[in-house]
Subunit: 439 residues, 2 copies
């Protein structure tokens, strides 16, 4: 049961649960990264695949099928293109280093060390790329992902939407102090009606909405079914679209009092962005970001039955293009010869939000962090900020080390507490190593 529950946290930030244990809680019953390698299992191989090797609509979120499906989502669900445009890809110069695999670090809460190379299997990495001073110093793929494929970004998607939102605030198209209902009248009677756009962007909205997968009555289930990410039971009478679902949510408590990570905020922000610009979110992403990056591949968003993109977790990109976006952020928004995101927006994100509000959410592994414009901000000595998605998706930007790490993964467990211990200290070890040993 835990497997199913945890797998279904997929795509929907579950970080609402505080972490009472620092060590990864991988159960022994899970196949290892090697044993669950989708090429080894043979998912979807053969013409047609044998019935027991099929990954279908109903098994998208089940481990170990996830080790294949996370790299092949468009083959199972409708999707909308986010086009790269037609220019040449922006260069990603290579200066690969052989000294990273052997780096040693101590996982959080552990008393035994681990090498970087070991960590990649411990946390079910599908692909990882490190940029240092803009050069690719490390790039590896495992399982079903290749440098030509796209992987679901899960809640890393949120940071793209938050950045878009902050850009529109900066240009004056969105007033962050305005009520959500000013832009989306349909949300007037919902929990979001009297919340400000800023409260949505920083996720301090008081809304009765649970992502507790152990509770069959939790709101999360209807959300997933509304987005058509999971099958609907016979006689299903719930919402059938993302926007219909958002309208049903009711207020609980006060807005602006505490950070409460709830995926629905991102789809509300997307709705605001679409109304403010008059364009679908896919077009906004394409015109304002993707086509300017010099991406080497198109990206795509999963859509519901009426074409509304699921922006809480439905963006899919190549790993290298995720690195380009992260590097653009590190460089203050300037990349590929142009200012893509205003410098002030990057500064706003890096500045973070209230650490006090954040502390109320009880993330033991993220002391003193905050959440701003849908980015996770560490407030540490390196100025690290990050985009984080279930099962191990990540953009990790370390300004002091001039380093960016992007990672796609398919960990059997969804919650970050399962892979933060083998990623956060590993990333810091690489940063320190690169700073001390620049070639």
């Amino acid at each position: 049961m835990q497997v199913k529950i945890d797998a279904l946290q997929t795509l929907l930030g579950s970080a609402t649960l505080s972490c009472s244990q620092a060590q990864a809680d991988v159960q022994p019953q899970f196949l290892s990264a090697d044993a669950s390698d989708p090429q080894v299992i043979g998912w979807m191989q053969g013409s047609p695949p044998a019935p027991e090797k099929v990954v279908g609509f109903s098994s998208i979120l089940q481990f170990p099928q996830t080790r294949w499906s996370f790299s092949h989502l468009r083959e199972l669900l409708p999707s909308v293109q986010v086009a790269r445009g037609k220019g040449a890809a922006s260069p990603l110069p290579r200066a690969e280093r052989e000294d990273i695999d052997a780096l040693v670090f101590t996982p959080l809460g552990s008393d035994r060390t681990m090498t970087w190379e070991q960590s990649l299997k411990a946390n079910y990495t599908d692909g990882i790329l490190i940029l240092h001073r803009g050069q690719v110093v490390y790039e590896r793929y495992f399982g079903a992902l290749t440098d030509q494929g796209q992987h679901i970004a899960m809640s890393v998607t949120k940071s793209f939407i938050g950045t878009l939102g902050a850009m529109l605030v900066e240009e004056g198209s969105i007033d962050p102090q305005a009520k959500v209902s000013h832009y989306v009248l349909e949300l007037k009677d919902s929990a979001f009606g009297d919340a400000t756009v800023r409260q949505v962007m920083d996720m301090t909205v008081g809304v009765r909405y649970s992502e507790d997968y152990a509770d069959p009555k939790a709101e999360i289930w209807e959300y997933l079914r509304a987005a058509h990410m999971t099958p609907r039971p016979e006689g299903y009478a719930g919402a059938t679209t993302v926007t219909e679902y958002l309208m049903k949510l009711r207020k609980e408590g006060e807005h602006g009092q505490a950070f409460a990570y709830k995926t629905v905020n991102t789809d509300v922000l997307s709705w605001v962005i679409q109304r403010a610009t008059g364009k679908p979110i896919a077009v906004n992403l394409q015109e304002r970001i993707w086509s300017k990056l010099g991406a080497e591949q198109d990206a795509y968003l999963i859509v519901d039955e009426v074409g509304t993109a699921f922006t809480g977790g439905g963006f899919n990109t190549s790993l290298r293009d995720l690195a380009r976006f992260s590097e653009m952020m590190r460089l203050g928004g300037k990349f590929n010869g142009q200012q893509i995101v205003p410098k002030s927006v990057i500064a706003d994100i890096r500045g973070g939000a209230s650490q006090q509000d954040f502390a109320k959410a009880g993330y033991e592994l993220l002391p003193n962090w905050s959440y701003r414009d849908m980015w996770w901000v560490s407030h540490d000595t390196h100025g690290v900020y990050s985009a984080r998605g279930l099962h191990g998706q990540s953009m990790y930007i370390d300004p002091k080390a001039k380093m960016v790490i992007v990672r796609y993964a398919s960990h059997p467990l969804a919650r970050s507490s399962n892979f933060d211990p083998t990623t956060l200290p590993a990333y810091r070890a690489v940063a320190n190593h690169l700073m001390a040993n620049s070639l």
Copy 2:
């Protein structure tokens, strides 16, 4: 009723019906091209679109929704990427001419002339591009298609698969005289079991399979539902995958006696190709053709519930990339600095097949034509050969005029007899004009 029936011929060559009338039989009840313009109607506009503006799974094939859906199929159905690769797009030099719009021709079976420009609305063109001596002399988009979008190729897909098949025959990976069951044992007891691969490639297989949409018991309905292109009725007990459906088809008459255009042949050929190469058809297309063309966009194939591509009609490309492929064919297989398709394969296609066998199928508008390697071969004085898809999809290659015309469309009626009268003589008029008036 006729609207629905004809619209459902979509994606599945219906050219089995002979044409008793040469003139287009557009019924007055159809909206004109201007009135059915998807931007004017507002399909899928708004966030979310109003209920009456939604194009959903169940309306994919209904006119006038088709004017939007044909350019947005991946937003409604699962699809698999056919990647362009990462190089620069191959150049398509431009030498646009202003003298084409005013060209006058006489539609087949008509006694009144029409201008080229008028023809584009008469036959519901979504996009059309003319190459002369490798230069873009004309390019126009209408409705929901742009130069950044992809459009469904319908049965033009078949010519890609036939070309792949002929390439594998040429390299010795497929024996065209072998029985289909030699490659696909699962088809042993089906109509295709004792047919040769060559008979499949040239569609002279005797199989009980009807694409008569007026007959609710016609095999076509189960085929569509198996491919998951149309909703399944409650209690549906038919095939649920493309390959399962193909296995159910039974022999009728003798193989090799007459041309009989039946879409299922293409999916059988794809199955043979997949078994001969050990790779999915999308990978074959990508590795052998798409990534070599210097395509400017990825393409995609619609897939069924177990990932089998629907190759009878499910390929989607940009118009310019369709032009690149056609130009490669015109140039004897050499394009973008490499021999992509062997010259002998192009010769085999251009040589055509038995005109006598073809004549038995009764295409009054295609006198003396034949069908080879899933291409339509005119045997006319220009050596024209063509890929043809329902509702007006086309690659038209005129070797003598050194001209290629590619067209995507969303005509309300599926059968070629509805738009051949305003396209075939128009194409010839352009060819003659370009030959006589080269700049």
